[in-house]
């Protein structure tokens, strides 16, 4: 399945795009998505390693299942306020 991942702030700047796409097997987890993205976008490595991911606007863990219809976002360390 094709998973689109929204990017923000420093990750978006570094990727030079606001979304990236990963090709994942059905039943993959956030942890597997993270590994796949690090392989495909090595320049984002440190950011992807330290980022959280969100599924449908909620923080997800590396065990969370990714579904094709989910909205996935990469959340690097936040600095609002």
């Amino acid at each position: 399945m094709k998973i689109t991942v929204k990017l923000f702030a420093g990750v978006r700047e570094l990727a030079e795009q606001s979304e990236i796409v990963a090709e994942l097997a059905q039943g993959s987890t956030i942890g597997e998505l993270r590994k796949c993205l690090i392989a495909d976008f090595p320049q984002l490595g440190p950011h992807l390693t330290h980022a959280m991911f969100a599924i449908d606007s909620d923080y997800a863990s590396d065990d969370s299942l990714v579904q094709e219809k989910s909205e996935i976002a990469c959340i690097p360390p936040v600095s609002g306020g």
Partner: protein, 141 residues
């Protein structure tokens, strides 16, 4: 009530908005764009957010604060885009019967917002460079 806005925060009216005859205490916190950070000079800050999720997270924080403390009112406002020096990027206003709750809730809300809500700050340094702030990640080269 929570709000994400691209407009200036009307800090003057926020304390008045939560003031009422039932509240004995109002605490307003403003986070201000500061000129100096660790000795370096900033010209402006720019804020970006995953807006949909930030709204959801802020609503969650308001709910949790109202569960933990007896709040009469609670406002959280975050500004996005360019925030000039000396202007507020974030405001938290809480009203309660007694001051202890208002201080505790106000401090907890801003601490939690800074830890959890998907909003990011970009420093525009006086030397012309810019830098997205990601605590714990080394500076992007």
């Amino acid at each position: 009530m929570i709000e994400i806005t691209h407009q200036p925060i009307d800090s003057a009216s926020l304390a008045e908005q939560v003031q009422s005859p039932d509240s004995g205490a109002v605490v307003l916190f403003l986070g201000i764009s500061r000129r100096k950070t660790d000795g370096r000079e900033t010209t402006q800050l720019v804020y970006d957010a995953y807006e949909e999720m930030a709204v959801k997270q802020l609503e969650q924080l308001e709910k949790e604060a109202r569960d933990r403390w007896q709040l009469i009112d609670c406002l959280i406002v975050h500004r996005l885009g360019v925030v000039p020096l000396g202007k507020a990027s974030v405001a938290v206003a809480v009203a309660s019967a007694h001051r202890r709750e208002a201080f505790e809730a106000g401090q907890w809300l801003i601490d939690s917002l800074k830890a959890d809500v998907p909003i990011w700050k970009q420093e525009h340094w006086a030397d012309g460079t810019t830098e997205w702030v990601h605590p714990g990640l080394s500076k992007i080269d």
